[in-house]
Amino acid sequence: MRLIAEIAATHLTHRKRQSIVSILGVAMGVGFFIGMAALMQGFQTYFVSKIIDVWPHIIMKDEYRLPSLQPAQRQFPQGAVALHGLKPVEELRGIRDGKAVIAALNRIEGIHAAPTMRTQAFMRYGAKDVSATLVGIDPELERQVSQLERDLKVGSLNELHTAANGVILGEGLAAKLGVEAHNIITVVSPAGVILKMQVVGIFRTGITTIDNFDSYTLLKKAQILANRPNVINQIRIRLRDVGNARVVASSIESRYGYRTEAWEETYENVLGIFVIQNGIMYSSVGAILIVAAFGIFNIISTIIHEKTRDIAILKSIGVAELDIRLIFLLEGLAVGMIGTVLGWALGHALVEILASIRFNIEGFVRAEGFILNESPYHYLIAAGFALISSSLAAFLPARKAARLDPVDILRGAA
């Protein structure tokens, strides 16, 4: 076995430059994979953990997934019913018996629920006119379902009670309006209600859409603005175990009928983008490794072509076909392994460099630099890819070498 390895090593050192190029090819694939994986997963897990952290895990909305059945359809469930000129009844929006639903949910172990009244609003301050989402909350219950209190940069939830018409704004929203704490703004609702409100707090979650558009007030004020007293249109739910969000959401939905979304569903579009991102990453790294594999195929074929005479000698001495095959497989594997180790170093360096870059971005989340997640799994996955592709690349030429007929070669040489 040592002999086989020694012969393989002499072949690679004999073709030093080509070997180095092949090794670098593998190293690039491995290095970029590690760098990109750290970047993508860093951002993705950060985003997800942020969402899970700041956002309620489940939201029940005052709508239904499917339009309700028409009486004719209910009457003939099997029949082919065609209805023309239908006008849906204008229903009063809002979750019926919302208080009772919340009380029932809160009795379940591991579930916290809080009522909200969510409405659109125009906010006016000086010459600025900004559209925003105003969420009416019950501060005591809200503490159980989101981290709003922790995310407050200025003010406190209690000030919603103490101020006359208190409102808490997202940082971005406040910036757009140009307001600071204690300023009075004018809030106009689609229902035509106008309210002077005092800014009692400013929050920052780090999630751009929330910080730029959301604002909070007391449930009652939101109901007044929407002109729908006592109505709740969303129930926010937080779980002790976020892993169950989908299951719990669907069981709540089937119990109450209202559309109930787990956070995964609310942020489906973003998670979908993550899937595409990962697909792009894997295919571009795959492409690099395919190129590297061609390099390995090429160098091993070249070596075999050059060393046919040596192969004939070894076979005449009595080195078996299997050993010959092993020699060249080993060469491929060696290129793969050296490339992997170099690639690990390259990948680590890449992550360090990315980590040292500082800048401000405002995408899905606000960040001062790349969010990186360097995981040993990435190193293992990259190594697996590299070793598999390099052995596959070596396999065909190695088999060809093992099958060479020494007699043909000896006749040709003599």
Binding site: R2, L3, I7, T10, T13, H14, R309, D310, A312, I313, L314, K315, S316, I317, G318, V319, A320, E321, L322, D323, P406, V407, L410, R411, A413, A414
Partner: protein, 225 residues
């Protein structure tokens, strides 16, 4: 005298659009300790016969027996094992591995066989090289050697595992007459002083007349054994 190598009605035909008959109905027996020359004109099939005797090639018909054991049913791995343990080849061109030193080349068959410890292999390889006057060249690369030295290194390698039969294909064909004479003397010494079974292909009558026996072939047929 027991037979080292035997052929029974052995025929080798190269398949193809026009099949070429290399060896036809060869019946041969080479005893242990014999010193045999295979002679004949160029293209008569001497090399082909040697490849068949050396289990490098397989007959189309008939069989080759090593120490009276049939080999036709053996797989390529088993044949390789027999070549390693029982046979030693020397070719016209030296055929040493260029990246290995002379000593390392001689040790390759020993290492593959794996019967000796590393130190014992080295000692034995040095002894072989010394007996061929090559101890000073042990650390050199093949490219640093003269033609005669390369051939002696190749002989040392062929003898590495104490083969039952040493097979040589025109080992002096590429050497000047002085070196040719030296190499031939080595073969004769091995055969006569050490009882080594030697089969050597040559078309040089000076060399063949010193062997115990000549097998003459013409057009793939043994005409005189």
């Amino acid at each position: 005298m027991s037979a080292a190598l035997q052929t029974l009605n052995m025929t080798r035909i190269l398949p193809g659009p026009v099949p070429v008959t290399l060896i036809e109905h060869a019946n041969l027996s080479i005893g242990k300790g014999e010193f045999v020359a295979i002679t004949g004109p160029s293209g008569s099939g001497k090399s082909s016969l040697l490849y068949l005797l050396g289990l490098l090639d397989r007959p189309t018909e008939g069989s080759v027996m090593l120490e009276e054991k049939e080999t036709s049913h053996l797989g390529s791995g088993e044949l390789a094992r027999l070549r390693l343990a029982k046979l030693g080849f020397v070719f016209q061109f030296h055929f040493l591995l260029p990246e290995f030193s002379v000593l390392e080349n001689v040790m390759i068959p020993m290492r593959k066989l794996g019967r000796l410890s590393g130190d014992a292999m080295k000692t034995k390889a040095m002894r072989l090289l010394k007996s061929l006057g090559m101890e000073g060249e042990a650390r050199k690369r093949p490219e640093q050697l003269s033609g005669g030295q390369r051939q002696r290194a190749a002989i040392a390698r062929a003898l590495a595992n104490d083969p039952l039969v040493l097979l040589a294909d025109e080992p002096t064909g590429n050497l000047d007459s002085k070196n040719a004479h030296n190499v031939f003397e080595i073969f004769r010494g091995l055969a006569e002083d050490q009882g080594q079974t030697v089969v050597v292909v040559t078309h040089d009558p000076h060399l063949s007349e010193h062997t115990h026996r000549q097998i003459h072939i013409v057009d793939g047929r043994i005409v005189d054994a």
